[in-house]
Amino acid sequence: MRKITYSQAFVEGLDYCMRKMRNFSLVGNEVMGLGPHRVHLERIWKTYPDRVRFPPTSEAAFSALAAGAAMSGEHVFCHLGAASFSFLSMTSIANEAATAHYASGGKIKVPVVFHMLHGLRIGGGTQHSVSPQAMYWNVPGLQIVLPSCARDAKGLVATAGLSENPTVMFTHDLLIGLEGEVPEKDYEIPFGKADIKRRGKDVTLVATSWMVQVSLEAAKILADEGIDVEVVDPRTLVPFDKKTLIASVAKTGRLVVADETHLSCGVTAEISAIVAEEAFQYLKAPILRVARPDVPTPFSRPLEDFITPTKEKIADAVRRVMRKP
């Protein structure tokens, strides 16, 4: 199968939405960041010049615009840039988009996608490295989508764009240039269906977004040591596929959760709680988490490295759950 980058696959997903729905438009420029992969978006700007708007640096207003337009019958894909800028949009996302369907008694639909770039990207510092997906997980009414590879990006963008519900979508900066096999044809990937990225029998390793790639690297190291890791990628946090997760834990009896959100109340905390509550009987060892410590993100490389969940840290956590009887 042909190999293309995450960014090219993502743009194919957007193009599919453009072709499929005349009322689909893009608000917010540089969906694939300001690096060399931004060029792939040009195809969208040139093919659909009336359906792409470049807003001023007014995150609160243009995200509200996206939400309000969605309430008025449009489908809007709204790009916010670095995830920390989405805090300026928090009122439009959490107060408006997330609550409108519910508070209107089900009369209003909000088909909007808020897309942002997250994660430790090397040198991003405090305000360009944020991974706020757990914060959004605490806002009922939002679907949360985290593609981890090119193939998933294309199908998840398509599903998010077509969805009738507000969706927050995260792209990790380090995924943008990553190549992978992607079918030429159009396809949608259903939300709430985890993907087992590597089958294994000894330990369940749950990760999303870029952490899936890092976890697969860790699994390679561990395979050489005779530890067979199963890497489970939930792909969407809301809806969350408990079934696949619990089935995997039932098989392996051991769980490590790796994620770039902060340790406290982060993605690893919720996934651990689900397993502790609903699959405790299968566990042969305590659950271990590899997460970003509860500190703002430093700039200097050794400091940033220290807080980054790496393949070595993940491999070490897996070894520890293997040692515990």
Binding site: N23, S25, V27, R53, P55, P56, S58, A60, A61, F62, S63, A64, L65, A66, A67, G68, A69, A70, M71, S72, G73, E74, V76, T91, S92, N95, E96, T99, A100, H101, Y102, A103, S104, G105, G106, K107, I108, K109, V110, P140, G141, Q143, E164, N165
Partner: protein
């Protein structure tokens, strides 16, 4: 559609009826709050009815609207069923939003309303989205944001007006400046707005938005400004801003609303003897309903009898609506888990 020279008899009576619907609804609401039929805090529109009633006169069924925590007047002016509006405020299953919104988030999407935000600047951003959708549709529809002076304290209002102006979106910003004579938080009342700009319309003007400042108690003034503004919007010339100034009604000055000026008696419009001494200023110079009735009588557009008749019909319908709400069932608790997603 160009601005009309003035309102004729039919339109005037229609507007008066809307104002009375809103007034009777809110008078009843204060009583219902007193009877503990609902326990939430709520915000009244009394004193501002001329604005909503006149604004909707210029709108088409396909226009979009947003409103705030002070939404009763806007939703009712647009024709929402008062019974279902009461039911919403009482948290009943038959409410406009099944009791999930309440007074703070009441919305009537069937009449063009987007979600009702109680974050004061929220409605301005959502209305911007409505205007974006209208422009994309290309059928001359507009999107109206009703908001108070306090909304302009939030940065989203500036951001939204800037985008609306840049993209020439058909947004009609109706700023209801009800701050005149407000008590303010520091004296135990509602917060009053804290804005440095001497004229709120001047904020919009600084973004090259066509702006007007009118007396929000004056039906004809509001209608003239808004109908011209809406026509401008429909023709693709971009957003408009109309600042409608009203006095803060006595009953809204304390933290908890009170019917301090009593139940409105339309005969006060022609019989000064009916006007209580204590609130003579309000009944003589502020109450937009009495001001409008006096004007209609002066212009000989309607008779006293016709006004009394309209009011009697409105009150009868209000009583029916009230009974509908009070006799409506509460929703089942477990349904709280439903309708998070479409």
């Amino acid at each position: 559609m160009a601005a009309k020279p003035g309102l004729g008899k039919t339109a005037s009576l229609r507007i008066l009826e809307r104002m009375l619907v809103i007034r009777r609804f809110e008078e009843s609401l204060v009583e219902m709050s007193g009877e503990k039929l609902f326990k939430s805090h709520y915000h009244l529109y009394i004193g501002q009815e001329a604005t909503a009633a006149a604004v909707v006169e210029s709108l088409r069924p396909d226009d979009k609207l947003t409103t705030t925590h002070r939404n009763h007047g806007h939703v009712l002016a647009r024709g929402a069923e008062p019974g279902r509006a009461y039911a919403e405020i009482l948290g009943r299953a038959t409410g406009l939003n099944g009791g999930r919104g309440g007074t703070l988030h009441m919305s009537d999407p069937d009449r063009g309303f987007l979600a009702t935000s109680s974050v004061v600047g929220g409605c301005i951003g959502l209305a911007l989205g409505g205007a974006y959708a209208q422009q994309r549709r290309g059928k001359g529809g507009v999107s109206v944001a009703f908001f108070g002076d306090g909304s302009l304290e939030e940065g989203i209002s500036f951001e939204s007006m800037n985008i609306a102006a840049l993209w020439k979106l058909p947004a009609v910003f109706i700023c209801e400046n009800n701050g005149a004579g407000a008590t303010g938080s520091s004296k135990g009342g509602f917060p009053s707005s804290l804005i440095s700009a001497p004229r709120l319309a001047g904020i919009a003007e600084s973004l090259a938005i066509s702006s007007k400042q009118v007396d929000g108690r004056d039906v004809d003034a509001v209608h003239a400004a808004v109908s011209a503004g809406v026509a401008r919007c429909r023709s693709g010339k971009g957003p408009v801003f109309v600042e409608c100034i009203t006095e803060r009604w006595e009953g809204s000055k304390p933290m908890w609303p009170e019917l301090s000026t009593g139940i409105t008696d339309v005969s006060m419009a022609w019989d000064a003897g009916q006007v209580p001494v204590k609130f003579r200023e309000w009944h003589t110079h502020q109450d937009p309903i009495l001001l409008f009735v006096r004007k209609l009588l002066r212009k000989k557009l309607v008779t006293r009898e016709a006004i009394v008749k309209v009011d009697r019909e409105v009150r009868a319908r209000d009583a029916t609506a009230r009974r509908f709400a009070v006799s409506s069932p509460m929703p089942h608790g477990k349904t709280a888990l439903q309708r998070v997603f479409a």
